[in-house]
């Protein structure tokens, strides 16, 4: 977007003292030295108050006086230093303050503080019980513990109480229900025992339980926040802006959140169309591959509807923005998406399934214990104490950590492999996948077209054509120019929108464009199209020379064959469902180990195929990028989409993978299978722990010391087992920021670890 200015006011927030604040996503920060470079470089600008780089999130926050330095200068200064930066739309940035994370951390700190203090008092009581503590001192210590524990449980327990309450109101059981019951009962029982001058109180158990569980919850939240903020950076770097035409005719780059239906938007040739709209002026050709999977360019003219995500080919267009839901195709997609997403929500997480089994069993065991001791005749109050001690010792500390601990470690590993998770339970569902359905365009293939016969580039005339292509923004011309690696454009060229470019070379007319524009022979066109069924053609013509025809098609991702072979060997059933033409899909399918493929599918067709697979009992992983894939992504058991996908598809998918390669798909599957195994091991560890601890509790031998030891011990074992995932993971370069240029770096072959 070089032709028009940004509407800066939309990106800046103004403080009371007259300075303005802007957040930018900065590309190219690789090390700590960059941080100093940027901060020092910006500090030299007049009116600069504060420039601070966040090395964790690769963001820059600047506060300055915009009367002294216009915002353009800041971007220019960053450019001179060698960094590209894009401002965040404040409407999006506001959500990044991360209130939940801070609340969890505060709750964790409070629980940690009082846990330590209560433990200090409890250890004194335990050692005193073994020696000669006086009753007064013990009561005093218990009362002090109560004084610390009660407010702590009320404050730090809030996340659990709230979640348990929501679950109960919805008539469900989740892990937080037994946690909430266990903690409240432990505190209540201890209070009663303190009042009655008893020897044992369980305050430290309740608080330590909260502390351990909060650690797990905070780590989980942090991991998710990290991948999210990385995804947000990429959204900003892709500049979700549109060139809005103001009433006075000027064009300004405006964040999408500020665009209203009815606004006029200018889309230059070669730009991606940012909004859905109706063409007001201009004609062009659109590359709709992201929307329909169709790789052929489609002509559009005044009055026709165009969709966000399509690539504008040859001419500039003025669009009138329509409301998001008015497009017929998008309507369809949205309706399908809604119904598909409802089907997905029926999935019950493994942790919640465990809770549904666990809670009734434990509560029944506790009730039976109470009845047994009552019948035995030791009186109702000691019976109640024993039955509550059963609840405390079984309180699912290990069980509560079993799944989150694995999720945290696994999502960290996935992050390193270039996979960003959208939903926490995606790991479990990925592990269950046995059938993989790929979209073709943009998923198996690269998003941009490439030359089918690169050897033609040695031809002198083709090279001239490639130089001419530098003057055009047409996607095919850009691909040709890039493939040829030419740098010197012709000085004077004229472009006929939708047809081609021409110039004079040594007194002869040189043309590049559609075969018809260059006067190519119809038979020759037919013969080359039969050789490259899915290709688009571009022609080069010079007076007196035969016309050169070049076929451009979507090339496979560099490791597509390798990865699909690997997956087929692993026993996955592979399918291709594409919206593109039959010939184009057949060409791709013939070189890949796919058991089945289908072409020219509508979004509804794709869902129908997924339903059929589901009915056969298959758990489908859908990998797709287009708008036409979005409903299928939501309908599949689990879904992945490349980072080049349209926004709607990324939102519908469970995870997004980075880079040019398909390899993260294979790694995500392998890792999630290992993670799933670790989760099951952890659940078994908790079961075994309970099998040992419950009989001791039922017999009435549990002391607070034993409860504290059992709880910490089981939590540590479960966490250590989760950390085992980090060992022997797939070897991959670890910096996620470099994921984008991975294509260039040589990588070891796919690991066989699964």
């Amino acid at each position: 977007m070089t032709v028009h200015q940004r509407d800066w006011d939309a990106f800046m927030t103004r403080a009371e003292d007259g300075s303005v604040h802007m957040d930018l996503a900065v590309d190219g920060i690789t090390c700590a030295a960059c941080m100093g470079d940027i901060e020092r470089g910006l500090a030299r600008l007049p009116g600069m108050r504060k420039a601070r780089v966040n090395l964790t999130s690769h963001r820059l926050a600047v506060d300055w006086d915009d009367a002294e330095t216009p915002p353009e200068d800041i971007l220019a200064a960053l450019n001179r230093l060698g960094y590209t930066a894009h401002p965040f739309d404040p409407a999006r940035a506001r959500q990044q303050k991360d209130e939940t994370g801070k609340r969890l951390l505060r709750a964790l700190a409070v629980a940690g503080f009082s846990g330590m203090n209560i433990m200090l008092l409890s250890v004194s009581v335990w050692s005193g019980n073994a020696t000669d503590i006086t009753d007064e001192t013990r009561d005093f210590f218990h009362w002090l513990s109560a004084l610390i524990a009660l407010p702590t449980v009320a404050y730090s327990g809030m996340p659990f109480f709230r979640s348990a309450w929501t679950a109960i109101r919805a008539r469900r059981l989740n892990m937080d229900v037994p946690i909430a019951i266990g903690v409240s009962l432990a505190v209540a029982l201890s209070l009663v025992q303190t009042i009655q001058h008893q020897h044992h109180a369980y305050f430290e158990s309740a608080v330590m339980l909260l502390f351990f569980l909060l650690v797990g919850r905070y780590l989980d939240h942090n991991m998710r926040g990290r991948t999210q903020s990385f995804a947000e950076n990429m959204a900003a770097l892709r500049a979700e802006v549109a060139g809005r035409i103001a009433p006075d005719g000027s064009v300004r780059e405006t964040p999408l959140s500020r665009i209203q239906p009815g606004d006029l938007v200018l889309v230059a040739a070669g730009e991606r169309i940012p909004v859905d709209g109706v063409v007001e002026f201009g004609t062009s050709e659109l590359d709709q591959s992201l929307i329909t999977g169709e790789t052929r360019l489609v002509p559009v003219g005044v009055g026709e509807t165009v969709y966000a995500g399509t690539l504008n080919g040859s001419g500039s267009l003025t669009l009138k923005v329509t409301a998001a839901s008015s497009g017929t195709f998008l309507d369809d997609v949205n309706r399908l998406l809604e119904t598909a997403a409802q089907g997905r929500s029926a999935y019950v997480r493994i942790a919640d399934r465990a809770a549904q089994l666990y809670a009734p069993v434990v509560h029944a065991a506790s009730a039976l214990t109470f009845l047994f001791w009552l019948v035995w005749g030791i009186g109702w109050q000691p019976s109640l104490v024993i039955s509550i001690s059963v609840l405390i010792i079984t309180c699912p500390c290990a069980l509560g950590l079993a799944v989150p601990a694995v999720q945290v470690v696994a999502s960290g590993q996935l992050f390193r492999a270039g996979v960003l998770l959208n939903s926490g339970d995606a790991i479990e569902r990925l592990a269950a996948a046995d059938t993989i359905v790929f979209d073709k365009t943009g998923t198996l293939t690269r998003a941009e077209p490439e030359l089918a016969e690169p050897e033609l580039l040695s031809d002198e005339l083709v090279r001239l054509g490639a130089r001419l292509a530098l003057s055009s923004r047409h996607p095919l011309a850009i691909a040709l120019a890039r493939a040829a690696g030419v740098r010197e454009p012709f000085a004077a060229t004229t472009e006929t929108a939708g047809q081609g470019v021409e110039t004079l070379w040594n007194g002869k007319t040189l043309r590049l464009g559609s075969p018809a524009f260059c006067g190519a022979d119809g038979q020759e066109v037919a013969s080359i199209l039969s050789r490259w069924p899915g290709a688009s053609l571009i022609a080069v013509a010079l007076d007196g020379e035969p016309v050169r025809l070049l076929a451009l098609h979507q090339g496979l991702r560099s490791d597509a064959r390798e990865v699909l072979d690997h997956l087929a060997r692993q026993g996955y059933r592979l399918e291709i469902l594409s919206g593109d033409r039959k010939g184009a899909v057949e060409e791709i399918a013939s070189v890949l180990p796919v058991s089945r493929w289908a072409a020219e599918l509508t979004p509804a067709d794709k869902i129908a195929r997924l339903e059929a697979l589901k009915a056969e009992g298959a758990n489908v992983l859908m990998v797709g990028d287009g708008l036409n894939d979005a409903p299928a992504l939501a309908a599949a058991h689990v879904s992945l989409s490349p980072v080049t996908a349209v926004h709607l598809s990324q939102a519908a998918a469970d995870a997004v993978f980075l880079g040019e390669r398909l390899r993260p798909v294979a790694e995500a599957l392998a890792l999630s299978r290992r993670a799933r195994r670790a989760m099951e091991q952890n659940l078994w560890i908790s079961v075994i722990y309970n099998a040992i601890a419950v009989p001791i509790a039922v017999a009435g031998f549990v002391t607070p010391l034993l409860a504290a030891l059992a709880m910490s011990g089981s939590s540590l074992i479960v966490t250590a087992n989760a950390l085992r995932l980090r060992l022997g993971g797939p070897a991959i370069d670890t910096d996620p920021a470099k994921a984008g240029d991975r294509a260039a770096s040589p990588l070891p072959p796919i690991s066989q670890s699964a």
Binding site: G36, R40, N54, L55, T56, R106, A109, V110
Partner: protein
């Protein structure tokens, strides 16, 4: 055991001081960039370069 009258308030008070300190550091955003902070301590940009005349050193 009279010493407890001093010891316990001191122990809890020290703990509380730690808690308050942590909450303060959280509030002032010191946990927002854990990566950057460790490098910033190595940045000696605020010192004059060697050989360069400086007001602070020459006075």
């Amino acid at each position: 055991m009279d010493v407890l009258i001093f010891l316990i308030p001191i122990a809890i008070g020290l703990g509380l001081a730690g808690l308050v300190g942590f909450l303060w550091s959280l509030k002032t955003g010191q946990y927002e960039d854990l990566e950057g902070a460790k490098w910033r301590i190595l940045d000696d940009d605020d010192l004059p370069a060697p050989g360069e005349p400086s007001d602070r050193l020459s006075s």
